[in-house]
């Protein structure tokens, strides 16, 4: 569902809204996208459109925009044709000349000028009002009620389950734009019927009113209407003579004699009527249509940036992506929680031939012996600042039961395991008792978790010679 070279339209608005419900991208992806389109950094709408173009294939299922725009175009086409036909037939009706009384131009002016100006004025109020006030003005338009009735048209079913995310303001501008479009089509139909009637029939135009209006006053009124084209098309401005000639009074079946004598001149009104339609009903309406289209586009741009999720994506576009984590996932070691305490024993001797202290000084070993009530014939400090060669020499001289103090809080390193393996390999050594001591601050009392570390490690050595002294437990 790739969308190419998109411009901001209702389609892109609906597509983005649909996409954001399914996909928003990560900060990293969005920032890297924005960096690839640096030129668009200051044009958020264009950047978002590019982003939409890039990710639109991620929209699952049918595009809502497709359904909605199909509905909208069907609706607009039907309504457009209807308004055009209506305009055409209204024109035919207004211009139908039975040869007995002239066609009263005042009716035509009402439809071709007064009504459009009124409708455009109401639309102006609608444009510049908001909320309930704007809602009230929209209700003055027949289109509002036609839409309400046409809600039941069959093709509306297509969008039955889809509610476009438009705001009231946006819907208002859509409505105004359509009002002007349909009115324009109505006026074109009207103009077409005028041209057709003028070509196909010989119409005698006249003007008649119950009000006491003189030909002079009416001429001034007509001239003021024609002010916009007076200089360009002077022939489309009725003369005072024509106005006087075409003034008629309904007196039964009889026509003014002077009118009958000047019947050929009465048709000259058509140019004025055509120009009135072109300027007021079509030209002015066209300007309103263009303006409402422009306002609709601006509203669309505003709402495009207000779609749920857009603010976050724009923030991600502009905020540098900071990563602090390792690029590769760590392979976690499987840590066995099972404790195998078969290697543990309690202190069963009080006098040892040799006592070793891993990373303890001889003084520290003596202190620990005193505290634990243990005696030894020889005391040896291993590890610590001893060299490996010195330790090797000490181990060679060991025999019988070797009691080995270790710091419980320091986990066994491979250096220790090397020493232990040397002890195991020494055939004179029968048993190795490892005693993990706690700190002096804790009166040598070790804690279970530290001892567990030792137990696990010693288990892995798999030697019957090695035992852990487990604090007397």
């Amino acid at each position: 569902m790739q969308l190419k070279n998109q411009k901001l339209s209702i389609k892109s608005y609906l597509d983005l809204s649909q996409l954001l419900k399914e996909y928003r991208g990560s900060h990293e992806e969005n920032r890297s996208f924005a960096l690839k389109h640096k030129k668009l950094q200051k044009a958020p709408t264009k950047l978002l459109l590019k982003w939409l173009e890039r990710h639109s294939f991620k929209i699952r299922g049918e595009l809502n925009s497709k359904k909605y725009l199909e509905y909208l175009s069907s609706f607009d086409s039907i309504m457009g044709i209807l308004f055009f036909i209506m305009g055409f037939f209204v024109g035919l009706g207004l211009l139908s000349y039975n040869g007995q009384a002239p066609v009263n131009i005042i009716y035509y002016l009402l439809i071709a000028m007064v009504l459009p100006i009124f409708s455009m004025s109401v639309s102006l109020f609608t444009m510049f009002s908001h909320g309930r006030v704007a809602n009230f003005f929209t209700m003055l338009f027949p289109l509002h009620w036609i839409e309400k009735i046409l809600i039941h048209i069959p093709f509306r079913k297509k969008i039955e389950n889809f509610k476009p995310p438009f705001s009231f303001e946006f819907s208002k501008w859509m409505f105004i734009e359509r009002i002007h479009l349909f009115s324009l089509l109505f006026s074109i139909g009207l103009l077409l019927s005028l041209v057709l009637m003028v070509v196909a029939t010989d119409i005698a135009f006249g003007w008649s009113t119950t009000l006491q209006i003189s030909a002079d006053s009416f001429h001034s009124f007509i001239s003021s209407i024609a002010i916009l084209w007076r200089d360009m098309f002077p022939s489309a401005v009725p003369s005072l003579e024509l106005v006087e000639l075409s003034h008629y009074f309904r007196l039964g079946e009889k026509l003014d004699i002077s009118m009958v004598h000047n019947a050929d001149k009465l048709g000259a009104w058509w140019k004025f009527l055509a120009m009135t339609t072109v300027i007021y009903a079509i030209g002015l309406r066209f300007i309103f249509l263009i303006f409402s289209k422009d306002m609709l586009q601006k509203q669309l741009e505003r709402e495009f940036l207000l779609l749920d999720g857009v603010k976050g994506i724009l923030r991600e576009f502009h905020t540098p992506f900071v990563s602090t984590q390792a690029p590769k996932a760590e392979k976690h070691l499987k840590i066995e929680e099972k404790k195998e305490k078969k290697t543990t024993i309690t202190i069963d001797e009080k006098l040892y031939e040799s006592i070793l202290g891993w990373n303890f000084s001889a003084d520290e070993i003596a202190l620990a012996n005193d505290s634990r009530g243990i005696k030894a014939l020889t005391i040896w400090a291993v590890g610590g600042s001893n060299t490996y060669a010195q330790d090797l020499q000490i181990i060679k001289n060991m025999s019988g039961i070797v009691f080995l103090y270790v710091k419980s809080w320091e986990p066994p390193t491979m250096d220790f395991i090397d020493l232990l393996e040397m002890l195991i390999e020494n055939k004179k050594v029968k048993k190795i008792q490892i005693y993990p001591l706690g700190t002096i601050g804790k009166h040598y009392k070790n804690n279970d978790s530290d001892v567990d570390v030792w137990i696990k490690k010693i288990d892995s050595v798999k030697s019957d010679k090695v035992w852990i002294v487990y604090n007397g437990k």
């Binding site: 900071v322 602090t324 984590q325 390792a326 060299t387 986990p411 601050g441 570390v453």
Partner: protein, 468 residues
Amino acid sequence: MGNKIIDDYPKFAVVGHPNKGKSSIVSSLALDDSVQIGNTPGTTQVKRGFPLKVDGKIIYELFDTPGFQRARRILAWLEENRPISADKRADVIRKFIYEFRDDKRFKDEIELLEPIMDGAGIIYVVDASKPYGPEYEIEMEILRWAGQPSMAILNLIGDEDYRDDWKRALGQYFRLVRTFNPLKAKFNDHIELLESMAQLKEEWTKSIKTAIKILQDLQQQKIEKSVDAIVKGTIKTLSYVHSKRIKSKKATKEEEKSLKERYKKELIRYEKSLEKEIADIWNHRTINKIDNLSALDNIALFSKESASIFGLSQKELIVTGASAGAIGGLGVDLAFGGGTFLLGSIIGGVVGGIGAMKGFENLYEVKLLGQKFGKRELSIGPMKNINFPYIFLGRILYHASIIANRSHAARDTIELEDKSSYIGKIIDANMRKKLEEVHEKLREGKSPKEESMVKYREVILDAFIKLL
């Protein structure tokens, strides 16, 4: 050995004895809770780089490394190959790496020495809650041979404190010695440590200062994102309406009960999803995988305990209810041009206050909709209870603050520290007034005004910052 291309960003290798909290420190500094941390030594088997990248550009890189295993053997080898002058010592270490690269015995040491020989500064980690021992001097001596800028970190894993002993020893080997507890470290501690690292080498100062600025911005972004999520989630929760179609003319008690249950469940689900979103913002992704990790898991959203800890006190509730009622009454007064002598506000205030007290237990208003059209729907929501928004906000702010303050090295469960009233401490009467403006609109099923939402967000932001 060839010329190696040296990257121009600072690198730091976190090294030390096994099980002294190297990974915890890296996890905390890299804001990454995926690092394996355990009591079992040797969980880190290979070096692992944690670069701080901005738009792909590396500002600095931390290396987590395995602990020393056979330090004595290595120092012995180095001594055997001791050069005539000190400036050649680093070359001897390079030679060691070269010669023993495939020797399994020295796998860990090679892993930890490699980044150092590639130019990384040394961060030597010790557990200062345990006594100092001369065996550490072997490791420190090897590191001294590397000739790289170095500092030591005193990590206090246990409850004893031997920092003075350690400082005396470490001071002889390292330019800087700092205390840093990765489990308790807050953002400012993190920044202070980085400032210390910046002092290690003149050429690194600029990069580290940049990194500090980046991290401060990142912290601010996370705060803003969390507040946005909290505001959005709260509004969504408070305005939620649950409806169900019913067949008969009147809803049965079972139907009402089941609707209430569904409604409650949905709000609980919203809270959980908000909690997850916040954990993701702060990059605490593993938290969501652990059951009953948060203290909130044991205190249900709709429980009395939750109301007493996170909600308003009875007094605050009456004041809030009264002021909400008074606002409504004020509308009546204004409609009559003040001719009511503010009677509307007074009556509204009294009714609101009493209503708030009564409404403490009553969360729901079940409505039957669409009777005229034959399609009958039972509907519940939006939330009518005056206290509920504060309970929800209190809980989520509590959760967010715990997550934001939690070190990425922490793997323990979260305990509820203080069970006294929570919301009153962070949201004063003035702030509550601004919140109530929005809550009232939501209770009426209306959308709050844009400017009210801006104020609402500001209050949440202030409350959240207070907790950090």
